[in-house]
Symmetry: D2
């Protein structure tokens, strides 16, 4: 059966089942599962935004998804960095995966993230949790100027103003504590109320 719960953190990062692993740098699901309990896993995350002609953020894009349990959750662009892959390549790959090939993201010239988010399996060590693993994520605000195409597994993007995005209601819908990440993204561009 292929009713696979969409991986809430990082779905098509690894080759789907049925696709042979692509050499030593790709991990099978089992290998990845084992490593996830041995090492922190490096992620990149991106908050897509629309900017005006002066670079001001006018809208924020949040991904909307129905889980296998029928819940609606929100998230941002997120995924693992592969062996041998630069951060920029990983960021671009995940933006394309989640927003489609016509989103035209403008990756920032600086490699410095607006924040570093630490996800732990158990709450308490940080604001962020991920029950699958210890992940450390470099998070960026990325302007997009093109057309968004939701990818196949029912992911949709909702655009809202910074004030709407920063609201308690919206932030509570973000998984893994990413409401705090979204607010930090808005603060970094001077758009948090």
């Amino acid at each position: 059966m292929s009713v696979r719960t969409p991986d809430p953190f990082n779905s098509p990062d690894e080759p789907e089942s049925g696709i042979p692993a692509q050499g030593p740098t790709w991990l099978t699901d089992i290998e990845l599962e084992q490593i996830r309990h041995r090492l922190p896993i490096l992620y990149v995350e991106a908050v897509p935004v629309h900017v005006d002609g002066f670079g001001r953020v006018v809208d924020v894009g949040l991904l909307l998804r129905g889980t296998a349990l029928g819940e609606i959750t929100r998230t941002i662009v997120s995924g693992r960095v592969m062996y041998g892959e630069t951060l920029r390549d990983a960021l671009f790959r995940h933006l394309e995966k989640d927003l489609g090939p016509m989103a035209f993201p403008q990756l920032p010239p600086s490699p410095v993230p607006f924040t570093v988010a630490e996800y732990f399996p158990l709450p308490g060590l940080s604001q962020f949790t991920d029950d699958r693993q210890h992940a450390v994520s470099l998070a960026y605000v990325v302007p997009v100027s093109g057309t968004i195409e939701a990818r196949q597994d029912a992911l949709e993007i909702t655009w809202m103003t910074p004030a709407e995005a920063a609201s308690d209601d919206v932030c509570a819908e973000l998984e893994g504590g990413r409401g705090a990440l979204l607010r930090a993204a808005l603060a970094s561009v001077g758009a948090l109320p």
Copy 2:
């Protein structure tokens, strides 16, 4: 006689002689001269760059100018913030002034500069000097994607790789100690050798 040395820091910021001052927010040359010895003056500066599709800086643009004394000096985009003007508006105005209307600068979403440069009339307090005034400058790296048109007073732009721009020779040609500013700009985008 109107053979006016092009203001090495900030030329057409203030209304040119002959143009009446535009209300209380514009300063006459005399007023500005007086205030410059009473208060730090706020500036914005921009290092124009070309980026590739992944946001990596591939080229840096330096402005080239012949002074009235026949010297060739290099500089970056630089100018004063006016009363009532936002930093973004000031940055955009000075980019357009120095690079022309078709440069298509992409102002950064974040208002945080890569560095804050402090210019003092006398050397020793900081790396930067400006014999006319105490100026504090918020400096940004700004990707441009369009066509540069040198403005009338013989300002030309030279594009070079980050390694060339960071060289001792080029940095020594930048006025007011801005070689250090250029290197800090390159470091902020991970492009300083």
Copy 3:
């Protein structure tokens, strides 16, 4: 009469009445008043924090003040940069002015602020307002490790957790829209819920 309302933005920046102006770099109240409508005025601001042994922010200090109208307002350390003064000197001077000589502030090694706040007399251009002037403020998070002594004009400091400080109630009590500044400060240190 000298019952002077403590200047809500920047009180003892200028020489107190009775002290003669210290040469051309100090401004009389009248001069400052005039210039404030001609140029953006450069400020530094600081959010005092307590950190633990690992640099984590555990408490935030907000200044409490009773206004002449009997209102209680909150604010942060804030003041003007003088002519010829470095940003670090100005920051240190205002920290000492508001927190006393035994606060032992640890100024950050980097001159880059966590945000740049733009204050305009009229609302709408930015999140921040100051009816006296157009001010541009470089804002820093500054750990203090010593003892705070409220200065004479009834300024008191209240320490609270990041979550308390970020609450709507507390942020609404900050003057000039500085609730958004406080939240941005917390976001910059990974402490905004």
Copy 4:
């Protein structure tokens, strides 16, 4: 024989031979070797500095080490982040490992590094190389106020001014391309000439 060359990148990160692995979160040398070719490994790095009372960087500390081949190389504090460990804990652990227990490092309140360095086994993808692995390092400037004690394997610390540290000679002695990292550290604190 156990004359083990001090691991130039990360030595006492893993339990030394003879000490039993401490449960599933610690990796044997063989396991780590395998994983290093499958995933990017997360590191933290620190440039120790001395600051004056205003936070200005006055000296930079570089670690000096004789390799098994009799070469002298320089490096900075550097080490792996373990499973379940926060970035701050890892940073503190490596600072203590390399500088001794009395260095009194002041970890920055912000989790945002001054740069992110990407180390690849082969040159060309970035400025940094590490022939053992693909590592991604979050790099910080860390003031220390105490006494440095070189750890057992002949590591010594040399203090020099920012200008000396940024020189071509010194930067060429840093391993893995970290001369560029050192310059970026200096630029981030406004101390790169």
